[in-house]
Subunit: 175 residues, 2 copies
DNA sequence: TAACGTTACGTAGTTCGTAATTATG
DNA sequence: CATAATTACGAACTACGTAACGTTA
């Protein structure tokens, strides 16, 4: 049983019509038909009676409909509760880093950063070693410096210096 | 988000260890790692902190764990209710239970039972603690005994003992 | 260095869409 | 015969397993 099947089922049950449900779900009608069939096969119960005018829930289908809606609602709640927990930082930043860093550590660092701060879009710029410190002082850059296993980030949407530590592959951002 | 991911997540969260969870789930460990990662990516939240000793739920992970379990339980109930409808059990039964049970657990249990077995009418009787075991032996009663978090039902329309387990608000009836 | 998690990549199984077919009022 | 559902089949996608790698106590 899959979420997709539950969503398909619920839509079909509401419209009592595979063709229209397929349109609303933006899926081909045979694909929808197949998924409903798979669901029925797994449950071992026929959920709809088919006819040339459309479909209609069986008694078992009516019972299942209640549970399907509850399940989908519960899943949405779970998802939202986790999402709502994430760090509310939003914005975009540009990261300036030495070429050597860009080619070695940066990809993984950004991947980790991206998981921790999904609301922040990151752009990458490359800077020369001799200009590195100068760039660090420019407030409209996020500059990135690796020293002693620690990353210092100067970000531009607030005049503030953040420290980005990598501890056990986890990225911790502190002000 | 898929049911498989929720089941994987719950198992990992319980064991705090990807390798052992993979064994129990009978799936290769990298596959499990990948699914957890996909889930985290979709939610936009890191669910586990990784280390060389295993994994540990983040705060967001703890929140999501609750919702994931609820969702899985609800899905199982939906599935069973549809399946149970196939289970054409019909009839009426009388449930005998201690007054304390009648006033506390019984309402929810009967509600769940009613969804699972819509064809069965239930009547409630109250019995005294000192007569409880005697009633249990009478074949024309459904008697209900709570012990070790498990409900045993002795039902009368077949000479058979069913076991009714409540696992996370879900009612499982086994013979 | 042992235990554990991640990355890389080829394979197998699933879902989808298009087109043809069947069924019914 | 018009409307709606099913079957057939090839293409695209995704999860999986194996193997190699990275990390930390």
């Amino acid at each position: 049983m899959e979420f997709r099947q539950l969503a398909y089922f619920v839509e079909v049950a509401r419209l009592n019509n595979l063709t229209r449900a397929a349109e609303r779900l933006k899926v081909a009608q045979p694909a929808l038909s197949q998924q409903i069939r798979n669901l029925e096969r797994e449950l071992g119960v026929r959920l709809f009676n088919r006819s040339a005018r459309g479909v209609a829930l069986t008694e078992a289908g009516k019972i299942f409909f209640i549970g399907a809606e509850k399940t989908l609602a519960e899943a949405e709640r779970a998802k939202d509760s986790a999402k709502g927990f994430n760090n509310q930082l939003r914005g975009k930043v540009t990261v300036g880093a030495l070429e050597s860093v860009v080619q070695t550590r940066l990809p993984r660092m950004l991947a980790t950063f991206g998981i921790e701060y999904p609301g922040i879009k990151v752009f990458i710029g490359r800077i020369q070693p001799d200009r590195f410190l100068r760039h660090l002082r420019r407030a409209n850059w996020i500059s990135l410096l690796h020293m002693n296993g620690m990353i210092n980030i100067f970000h531009s949407w607030k005049i503030q210096i953040l420290r980005l530590e990598f501890v056990r592959n986890r990225c911790i951002m502190t002000s």
